[in-house]
């Protein structure tokens, strides 16, 4: 048991069954069982990945589309269970895999702030305390009682980011969500992440913007088709990655 690492990923592999057709009714199940077509093509999304993150470190995860970055993040968040290998995470995780996870379009922003906070595991008292802070960070004071379906995607992103980063989590996991949003929003988000980092938060950040990676993260992990290509200081990894 490694006590000095906050996140320990050892020899982790993740396998998905890629079916051409999903079998989700009894008739197809029985037919395919008889025809022995029940086992589908296996797809190894991640193979033998190792990653050890200390408290307070900031890691970027880079790679082409389909490399397995989001899968790795989902494994760390506990949304997926690894096919083999072990994952140990010490500390509470604030996942930012999609802004506004849990947003219900039919409800107003006010109601959604509480709902989103609840989804992320925060308590009622906490949400009431932080409500005004969230509203002022997202600059949506005039639209609080409007149902979310009437919001633009940028507004939704602002609201989602505000709710998700209102705490100082021990581990913050961000997955390419900041691509949407204007320049002002991007700057705001980066500032917020810097604040959290200087407060001792561990950061795992997936981004396609190498400049941003170099600014925010000390280390980087380069994934390609489920394998670790390189792992180390972000300047070194980015230099190699940019060569492509």
């Amino acid at each position: 048991m490694n006590n000095d690492y906050q996140i320990s990923i050892d020899n982790v592999s993740m396998r998905f069954n890629l079916a051409n057709q999903k079998v989700d009714n009894l008739k197809e199940y029985v037919i395919k069982l008889i025809k022995k077509e029940l086992f589908f093509k296996e797809f190894m999304a991640l193979t033998d990945v190792n990653l050890h993150v200390r408290k307070g470190e900031s890691w970027a995860i880079v790679g082409r589309n389909g490399a397995g970055k989001s899968t790795l993040l989902k494994l760390i968040c506990g949304i997926l269970k690894p096919y083999s290998g072990t994952i140990q995470v010490n500390g509470n995780v604030a996942p930012l895999l999609e802004l506004g996870a849990g947003f219900d379009g039919r409800m107003t922003a006010r109601e959604n702030i509480y709902l989103n906070g609840a989804v992320l595991g925060y308590s009622k008292g906490f949400m009431q305390e932080k409500f005004n802070e969230i509203v002022s960070f997202s600059e949506l004071q005039d639209f609080l009682d409007v149902p979310l379906i009437n919001y633009s995607s940028g507004m939704r992103a602002r609201l989602g980011f505000a709710v998700a980063t209102i705490v100082h989590p021990e581990i913050l996991i961000v997955d390419e969500v900041l691509a949407v949003g204007d320049a002002k929003f991007q700057v705001k988000c980066e500032t917020r992440m810097q604040e959290l980092l200087s407060g001792g938060t561990t950061l795992l950040y997936v981004s396609h913007s190498i400049a941003q990676v170099k600014r925010l993260c000390q280390n980087a992990l380069w994934l390609d088709q489920g394998h670790v290509v390189m792992s180390g200081l972000s300047e070194d990894v980015c230099k190699e990655y940019e060569k492509l």
Partner: protein
Amino acid sequence: MLLKLRSKLSVFLKYSFLLQQLVMRDIKLKYRRSFLGYLWSILNPLMIMLVMTAVFSTMFKRTIENFPVYLLTGRLFFDFMTESTKHSMNTVTGNAALIKKAYVPTYIFVVAEVTSSLVNCLFSLGALFIVMVFTQTAFSFCLLLTPLVFLQLYIFCMGLGLFLSQASVFFRDIQYIYGVITTAWLYLTPIFYPVDALGPHLMRFVKWFNPMYAYITQFRNLVMERAIPDIRLVIYGYVVAFLALLLGLYAFYRSKDKFILYI
């Protein structure tokens, strides 16, 4: 084992705010933008009761004295069961987007659905109150015992809901088959006819294997006959409820890690 149970309980408590939010969301959205709003929770069962009384009461005038209350007590319980289980069945598949992006204890959706159906049922009791006043049915202290019957039904529906929600992830057909099952179940439960109207074999089958019969009969004992139900019926009700809950939890826990691969 005890430690595991305690950790699971602490997770549940951690998400109690989410449960509250989900229940409030269902209640708020149910009648938002409708003119009469929550009055529909009362009007709906009332109108159904009027229609069915008009049709069936003369048929069974001899055996059932107070047809409106007889019918309404049966329908309220049965509607709670169908509504909570039907909604629970769709929770995992319906909340796929959320489950894929955030860690949420998936069973919380089922608990939320059954709880909001209970809240709706409690609103509908207003209809029962109106009908009791109208038919001059006497109120008694036995009514104070009704929460104990509601509890049995709540636990039963929770178990059934959990089972259905995990089953429908792997076999979507269940959503369509279940409609037929509830219809058949409706006719096999003495809601608008006295249980004696069934033949002897069917009657025995209903009394032994239809938990809804047990719950509805207990409710009717308290409301209409102002008597405490047979203790054997109460025990049967609780045993079946807890068995359903255990079965639902077991099935749910066994398959919950595979949900994300099928939604």
